[in-house]
């Protein structure tokens, strides 16, 4: 800070003190929030915190961007071990089990229910609450939740004689080949960086395929991956076929797959609903979006979420806990939810917020923003579609991606690769079980 700006700020704060009188002398209780939102979404987080801080003079939330999700969880671990943790941390959905069994957190629902604040937990959108719940109670406060949807280039579909993408994978595949053949687009679809999430995990959920035993890990640490025995194998084989035929394109390092879509090179793109803001800003094409396809003859289920939730680190003072409760209460409010939904493209977390958006006519003006909500709310979640509770889920996910890449490079076929992926994944699950036996 320069001396000049320091003087200005000092003068301003003295003035503020005089004007607001004695009450301002009581310092607001401050809580630290470490988050992983950068760029535009980082600015939205700052706006959100500013709104909260202006709504109360008792509490103050200080939001600090600690890098990406990996950096936030590592920073949290380091701070916790050094006994100087922040109050609230934003942890990605894959870190659920790590956080839950860390002995370092206070379950959110427990914390909130002890306070005077009453939150209608049943109003949370089911796959959102279900993902972050342990034994029916929310362990973390859902925050930025998304789900994959299918973005498509309207002009290119029309050029090849289609109104919109087909509902089933089989028909959709034919469309992609037709689009390429007609020369409407150079490639059918661009492979997203997080393709494991849309093309394998959500594929399993939507088609009601078991990903692992024990209700995808919800019923015990002795869960085992079984997706090598489901339609996931032909799905991986299909991706390889598309790749060989030039229907699927990988952007690779140094280039973003989203650009392959927004530049009009690829006709479709499976990505998070949170990609809306980027696509809206960059696309020079006529685009729209629709639901993820499903397999012929299946009754499609809900998709699952991605994103992150807010965890409360334990060991903080009572008044600081109150500040956290107040902040979460503010976050859960339909108005806040609606604002966040509109500002970022993430889904609203409660049905009330969703109703509010509908009543406002928001989806008339931006219909594609509703797709993820509808898709998440489709039907009643089954054991296969509620979510994934796997220890060290990041690790098994990377093992799986490595095996899928082995299919792409041609060194394994889809069945071999998925067998190896589940085998490696199961070793990871067993190690986790050994470490945490009796804790879940």
């Amino acid at each position: 800070m320069t001396l000049h700006s320091f003087r200005v700020k000092a003068a301003a704060s003295v003035l503020a003190l005089c004007l607001s009188g004695a009450s301002a002398l009581a310092q607001p209780v401050e809580v630290q929030w470490w988050h992983a939102m950068n760029g535009v979404n980082g600015e939205r987080v700052d706006d959100l915190v500013k709104m909260f801080n202006e709504s109360t003079d008792k509490y103050k939330v200080v939001a600090v961007n600690k890098g990406n999700y990996d950096e936030v969880i590592n920073g949290t671990i380091a701070a916790y071990r050094a006994k100087r943790p922040p109050h609230i941390v934003q942890i990605y959905e894959r870190g659920f089990m790590t956080m839950l069994l860390s002995d370092a957190v206070v379950p959110v629902q427990e914390l909130m229910d002890k306070s005077e604040v009453k939150i209608d937990w049943s109003d949370f959108i089911k796959p959102v609450a279900g993902f972050y719940s342990y034994k029916g109670k929310l362990a973390a406060m859902p925050f930025n939740s998304s789900s994959p949807i299918l973005y498509y280039n309207k002009d290119q579909f029309q050029k090849a004689g289609f109104d919109k993408p087909a509902e089933t994978w089989g028909e959709f595949e034919k469309q992609l080949y037709a689009i390429k053949k007609a020369g409407a687009a150079e490639c059918g679809t661009a492979l997203a960086t997080d393709y494991h999430w849309s093309m394998i995990e959500n594929y399993s959920a939507i088609n009601d395929l078991p990903y692992a035993t024990k209700s995808n890990g919800y019923d015990g640490l002795d869960t085992e991956f079984v997706y090598n025995k489901t339609l996931v194998v032909p799905q991986v084989a299909r991706m390889k076929k598309w790749l060989d035929d030039g229907v699927l394109q990988i952007a690779g390092q140094g280039f973003s797959p989203e650009q392959l879509f927004t530049s009009g090179k690829c006709a479709t793109y499976f990505a998070s609903t949170a990609a809306h803001s980027g696509i809206e800003r960059n696309a020079k094409i006529g685009w729209s979006a629709t639901f993820m396809p499903w397999e012929e003859g299946k009754q499609p289920k809900n998709s699952t979420i991605g994103g992150a939730a807010l965890w409360v680190i334990k060991g903080h003072k009572a008044d600081e806990q109150q500040a956290i409760v107040a902040f979460f209460d503010f976050l859960a409010k339909p108005e806040t939810q609606l604002w966040w939904h509109k500002a970022t493209g993430y889904v609203p977390l409660t049905n009330k917020a969703y109703e509010l958006a509908k009543a406002e006519g928001y989806y008339k003006q931006s219909p594609t923003r509703e797709i993820a909500v509808l898709q998440l709310n489709r039907g009643t979640p089954t054991a296969n579609s509620l979510g994934f509770h796997f220890g060290n889920f990041t690790q098994s996910m990377f093992a799986q991606r490595e095996e899928v890449e082995a299919v792409f490079t041609g060194s394994k076929n889809a069945q071999q690769a998925m067998d190896d992926a589940t085998k490696r994944g199961n070793e990871i699950l067993r190690q986790y079980e050994r470490l945490n036996k009796g804790k879940y």
């Binding site: 990996d70 969880i73 590592n74 671990i77 916790y80 071990r81 790590t98 069994l101 860390s102 002995d103 370092a104 790749l243 394109q249 990988i250 952007a251 690779g252 390092q253 140094g254 280039f255 392959l260 090179k265 060290n392 990041t394 690790q395 990377f398 093992a399 490595e402 095996e403 890449e405 082995a406 792409f408 490079t409 041609g410 060194s411 490696r424 070793e427 990871i428 190690q431 050994r434 470490l435 945490n436 804790k439």
Partner: protein, 303 residues
């Protein structure tokens, strides 16, 4: 060990007693203590533990982490990849740096300009260098990739492991050629002109002089550089791998140091990561010892 008396050198004649040398060494030792020895000891301890990242549950598991590694196909793959990567990188770096140093040595005019140009890549941060290479060679948009394809070669580091390996080897070498170059050039300049002139009088051409006189005299420098290149390949190429390939495709460029990072930092498998770093350290240690033992003997240290 005290140096033998009949070999007077710097060691004995300048420092009497212990206090002053100890004092002078202290800052460096402190740095080593905090940034090397303490982390190394912690890694060694962690290698025998199975631990929750938050430290809630810790099991002592003896050698389980190591045994798991030896059984892991992806770890064995990483070892193979590292050997190929460091060897290729070493050979390419020294060869190109050698040619450049030789050429600069022959240049009469504008030598400093050439030196400046060759040294430039050293000033670029590895991560930035990595991004540059990734972009230039990206099969969808990279200009160099277009050029390669226009020559009729298939090029896709996203799908072809060998292409990816080639790419990171060249990126890592490019970044390190300058370091090798400075040392080789300094070595060349230090070679007594009388030796070269005598050879020239005897009728040896510049290339013959280079191989018969300069290269043997550069032995110590090349030996030193080989060790440094291995250390560089083992530990410092992390950022390049991270920016260019993320260790892919299918682990084709997943060198050991990147795997340590991935398993420790991303996957939070701290025990395995610690065991890997202990093995990596041992690997580097053995290599250095072997080099000293076998290579040093053939090196001519007296000029």
């Amino acid at each position: 060990m005290a140096a033998p008396l009949h070999e007077p050198g710097l060691k004995q004649s300048h420092f009497k007693g212990v206090r002053l040398p100890a004092l002078l060494l202290l800052p460096q030792l402190l740095i080593l203590l905090f940034f090397f020895f303490i982390p190394a000891v912690r890694a060694l301890m962690g290698a025998f533990l199975l631990s929750d990242p938050f430290g809630a549950t810790v099991h002592f598991v003896w050698f389980d982490n190591f045994i798991a590694l030896f059984h892991s196909e992806s770890y064995r793959n990483s070892v193979r990849v590292t050997i190929v990567f460091t060897l290729a990188q070493n050979v390419i770096t020294i060869l190109i740096a050698g040619v450049l140093a030789f050429a600069t040595d022959r240049v009469v005019r504008g030598q400093s300009v050439y030196k400046g140009v060759v040294l430039l890549p050293y000033a670029i941060a590895p991560a930035i260098a990595g991004v540059l290479w990734a972009f230039l060679f990206n099969p969808a948009v990279g200009p160099v990739a277009f050029f390669i394809k226009s020559l009729g070669f298939a090029w896709d580091p996203n799908l072809n492991g060998s292409d990816a390996m080639l790419l990171v080897v060249f990126a890592a070498s490019w970044k390190h050629i300058c370091y090798n170059y400075i040392f080789l050039l300094a070595g060349l300049l230090a070679i007594p002109g009388s030796l070269l002139e005598a050879a020239a009088v005897d009728g040896a051409g510049p290339i013959k002089r280079f191989f018969q006189i300069s290269v043997p005299l550069l032995g110590p420098t090349i030996f030193f550089l080989t060790t440094m290149n291995f250390v560089y390949g083992f530990f410092e190429t992390f950022a390049i791998i991270d920016a260019v390939t993320h260790g892919g495709p299918a682990g084709a460029t997943n060198i050991l140091v990147y795997k340590v990072y991935q398993d420790g930092f991303i996957n939070l498998d701290l025990g395995s990561s610690a065991a890997q770093s202990v093995l990596l350290m041992t690997f580097a240690l053995i290599l250095t010892l072997v080099q000293f033992k076998h290579v040093e003997r053939r090196v001519n240290y007296t000029i």
